[in-house]
Every structure is written in structure tokens, then in C-alpha cells.
């Protein structure tokens, strides 16, 4: 009956805390005298253990412990929650990266104008007349006295003032400005645009070939957006061509999104580092060369007198004027049908701009190998790929000539214009 005093827990749980308590209580049992041990009747082991274990203090402590608020177990997030959290983190990382990679440089560089390092002096350009020394003193002429007639030596009739290119392409230039919907000719510039729309190599294509003849290399110019070399600077294509009084203009290589490379524009050197891309150079003498990165040395090129350079690429024709089959680019875009812009060279003074529409119903667009093939068929000896996609724009006479696949502002353009800077309005009144 002594077993009634014990709680069921005590009897049922010999291990753990109660077990330990039993172990600590063991010496008390050994305090009994030997006579007691002998006279006491033999009890069952279970009852004996229960008797020794029971302590009112222990019960109170245990109750207290049971009633005490247990620390809440931490809830582990579910797998789906964890994945969602990680996806969110990936998004945050990408947004932060995009901010520092794209947005912040634009904000900080918005008003940073990059000035050219130096200017390449053409070997063919005559040196300017020396202005050092005292200025010539003009003799005072009395008011009543008529100034002596200037004796001008009559020019010999044989002297031909035309440039070499004007002579070579005499049948292309005209004495007066003649302008039609798709052509322009003057004493210095001859441009005619041909539009091809139809099946090309099994696909419906539309592309525009602007055949260009210039009398001087200065008729072939480039222009940055807003006429300043600013990082990430961009301007509407038509506004840009109008601001330059361009007869014909094509998008360039968007060189102002990079802070290195080999960049010369209108004879001004901005960067003279080596590139990993193919380079296209228009020299002051009208030649065009395309180079792989291993084929040129920046210093040697500078000495050769570059007038314009482009660093988009890749080059489309080899040294024999044959279409390249493999291109120096890692981008997958070359395998896609896309709107394309390219610059072709026949001989000094004779060039072409080719713009192909794409990603539209009237034009599929060209893969790069097809585009290279097109330049070979046109008979170019050198050809170079420019920025494409929505950037592919050809403007003529102050309006867009092709059908771009989207609207994108341009960082720079290649343009053909009169050297004299005669505006269209002045021409019209002439």
C-alpha cells in the first residue's frame, strides 16, 4: 500500500531526471542501521524504489517546472518560402548590379564631355602658313585717291582646280546641286540610294544601298550626339543628321558607351588603346582598312594618319574582298536575323552605306554571313558592320529613309555633307 504515495510518473520513468534523483537518493537508504535492515521484511524492489524516490520537494519543483512557460521552438521556414526568398534576393542583386552598371554611370557622366587627346595631321594636308613675325603694315590710302588696282596674275587655262577624286568621278558630280527623292549631286558630293525589296536567298528582305562619291575626305564626317563626346550621350537620328546639315547619314558604332579602345573622329584622337574587337579605319587619303585585333599597332596607326575609326564590327570582307565565313565576335546576335547597318569601301572617294530592315513583315533581316555576302556582291573591297537592331537608321535629306524596327536614339552617325556647310535653305535659294 505504500506504493500509493508514489506518483505514476515516478514509477514509470526510472531514467532521466527522476532516474538521477533516484541515484542521488541512494545514500539515504544506506543510512539505515544493520539491525533495521535485518528486521525489516523483504519488500518488492519496485515498491522499495518508489519509496526512496518520493520527495514532496521534488514534486513541487516538477510541478513548477511543468507550469513554467516553455521557450517557443523556432519555426523553420518551408522549402517554398526559402526558394521564394532566394529568388527575391537574386532579383535584388540584379537590380543593384544594373543600377551600378548602367544607371549610376549615366547619371555621373551625363555632363562629362570627353575632349580629344590630340589631332591627327594629315600627310596630304598642306601645313598652315606661318604667322610668326610682325604683322604686315598696311599703307594708309588717302580718301580721295583710288586704291591701286590689285594685279592678279591670270591663272593659266591648263590649271585644273578640281581634286583628284573630282576628276576620277567626273561623271558622278554635277556643277549645280541636283536633288531628287533618292539622290543628290553637287560639285563635291554624289549620293544615290537604291532600295531592294523582294526575295533574297529564299527570304523576303528589304535593304537600302547608298552609293557615295565625295570630292574631298572632309565631305565624309562623323558626329556625336549633341555634337559632344559624352558617355552614353544619345540623340534622335533625324535631329542629329539635321544638326550636321547631313545629306545622308547612317547610324554609327555607339562608341560613346565605352571608355577605352582606339577612337579617332574627324581627325581628333579620343582613345589610342588596343582593342579586342575588329577595327575599321578611314585614312585621310580616303583608304579604308579593316583590322583584326592582332593585325594593328595603335602607334603605327596613328602615324599613318587615321581620319575616322569605328570599333563595333566585325569586319565582313577579307583582304581579297571575299565574304568572311567566321567572325571575330562572341555574341550570338550574328546568327540571328536582324536589322543591319554596314559601311562599304570600293576605292578612295567611293563608299557605300548599306542598311537592311528586319524583324518586320516586309523584311526578315540578315544574319551576319548573309550581310557579308551582300557586300561581296556589291563589289566592295572592305566592309564593316555597325550597330544594328533598332539602331539601324538611314536618313536622307533630313528624314528617315528606311523603316527601323523600333525607335532608338543614336550615339553617333556617319554622314555625308558639303564642306562649305551650305544649309539646305541656302541651296534652295541659290
Amino acid at each position: 500500500m505504500e506504493g500509493r504515495h508514489t506518483t505514476p510518473k515516478h514509477t514509470a520513468a526510472p531514467s532521466g531526471r527522476t532516474g538521477m534523483r533516484a541515484a542521488t537518493a541512494q545514500p539515504r537508504r544506506t543510512a539505515e542501521t544493520p539491525t533495521q535492515r535485518q528486521t525489516a521484511p523483504e519488500r518488492p524492489a519496485r515498491v522499495r524504489e518508489a519509496q526512496t524516490i518520493y520527495r514532496p520537494d521534488d514534486e513541487r519543483a516538477e510541478r513548477k517546472e511543468r507550469l513554467a512557460p516553455r521557450p517557443e521552438k523556432k519555426k523553420r521556414p518551408s522549402a517554398a518560402g526559402m526558394i521564394l526568398r532566394d529568388i527575391l534576393l537574386v532579383g535584388i542583386i540584379l537590380v543593384v548590379f544594373a543600377f551600378f552598371h548602367h544607371v549610376l554611370p549615366r547619371i555621373t557622366a551625363r555632363n562629362t564631355v570627353i575632349a580629344p587627346k590630340s589631332t591627327v595631321v594629315s600627310a596630304t594636308t598642306p601645313p598652315p602658313a606661318e604667322t610668326s613675325g610682325p604683322a604686315p603694315v598696311q599703307q594708309a590710302v588717302p580718301e580721295n585717291e583710288e586704291p591701286p588696282e590689285e594685279t592678279q596674275e591670270p591663272l593659266p587655262e591648263e590649271v585644273d582646280l578640281r581634286t583628284e577624286w573630282q576628276k576620277r568621278f567626273a561623271d558622278k558630280f554635277t556643277d549645280e546641286v541636283i536633288r531628287t527623292a533618292d539622290s543628290y549631286s553637287s560639285p563635291d558630293v554624289a549620293v544615290s540610294i537604291s532600295t531592294y525589296s523582294g526575295e533574297y536567298k529564299g527570304y523576303y528582305q528589304t535593304y537600302y544601298v547608298a552609293d557615295i562619291y565625295v570630292a574631298n575626305i572632309e565631305n565624309f564626317r562623323t558626329r556625336f550626339a549633341n555634337d559632344q563626346f559624352v558617355y552614353y550621350g544619345a540623340q534622335d537620328a533625324v535631329a542629329l543628321s539635321k544638326s550636321a546639315d547631313a545629306i545622308l547619314a547612317m547610324n554609327g558604332d555607339y562608341c560613346n558607351n565605352q571608355r577605352s579602345g582606339f577612337l579617332v573622329r574627324n581627325g581628333d584622337v579620343y582613345y589610342d588603346d588596343a582593342l579586342t574587337f575588329d577595327l575599321c579605319v578611314l585614312f585621310h587619303d580616303g583608304r579604308v582598312e579593316t583590322y583584326s585585333p592582332s593585325e594593328y599597332d595603335p602607334q603605327e596607326l596613328l602615324e599613318a594618319g587615321p581620319y575616322q575609326t569605328w570599333k563595333f564590327g566585325p569586319k565582313l570582307l577579307d583582304e581579297d574582298g571575299k565574304a568572311m565565313t567566321s567572325f571575330n565576335t562572341t555574341t550570338e546576335i550574328i546568327y540571328e536575323e536582324a536589322p543591319r547597318s554596314g559601311f562599304g569601301y570600293y576605292e578612295p572617294g567611293h563608299y557605300c552605306f548599306v542598311v537592311a530592315d528586319g524583324r518586320q513583315n516586309h523584311a526578315r533581316g540578315f544574319v551576319l554571313s548573309e550581310f557579308a555576302q551582300l557586300f561581296e556582291e556589291l563589289g566592295c573591297t572592305r566592309a564593316y558592320n555597325m550597330d544594328g537592331g533598332a539602331s539601324s537608321v538611314l536618313t536622307f535629306d533630313g528624314s528617315t529613309y528606311n523603316k527601323p524596327s523600333g525607335y532608338r536614339q543614336l550615339g553617333d552617325i556617319l554622314l555625308i555633307a558639303e564642306i562649305s556647310g551650305v544649309s539646305r535653305e541656302e541651296e534652295g535659294t541659290a
Binding site: 537574386v90 540584379l94 548590379f97 565605352q258
Partner: protein, 65 residues
């Protein structure tokens, strides 16, 4: 500190996914300097640091076990 150490592998995984995305974008348009810009270089350095810290933490925990 324990929380941070638990979070490290997640951070490393997320940065790795972001790097994969950036690499794919670079394939489409390398001229945008997705992998060669100063920001990219800093990102790669941070990623390497996080992976290193995460690896060391994992190694220490495994050895304690």
C-alpha cells in the same frame, strides 16, 4: 553571427545565379561590358569572397561534427 553564417550559402547561391544571368547577357551583347566593367569586377570579387567564407564555414562545421 550564427544567422549570418547560415545566410552565407543562400547569398552565394543567389550571387551565382545573378552571375549566370550576367554571363548570358554578355553573350548577347558583349559591347555592353557585362563582365568587363568595373562594377562587374567588384561583383566578381564579392562573389568570390562570399563563396570562400561559405566554404570555410561549411568545412569548420563538418570537422566539428
Amino acid at each position: 553571427m550564427k544567422r549570418f553564417l547560415d545566410f552565407l550559402p543562400h547569398l552565394a547561391a543567389c550571387m551565382a545565379v545573378a552571375l549566370v544571368v550576367i554571363t548570358i547577357l554578355n553573350g548577347f551583347n558583349p559591347l555592353m561590358a557585362w563582365l568587363t566593367s568595373r562594377t562587374s569586377r567588384i561583383f566578381l570579387f564579392l562573389f568570390s569572397t562570399v563563396v570562400l567564407a561559405s566554404s570555410i564555414t561549411a568545412i569548420v562545421r563538418n570537422s566539428r561534427r
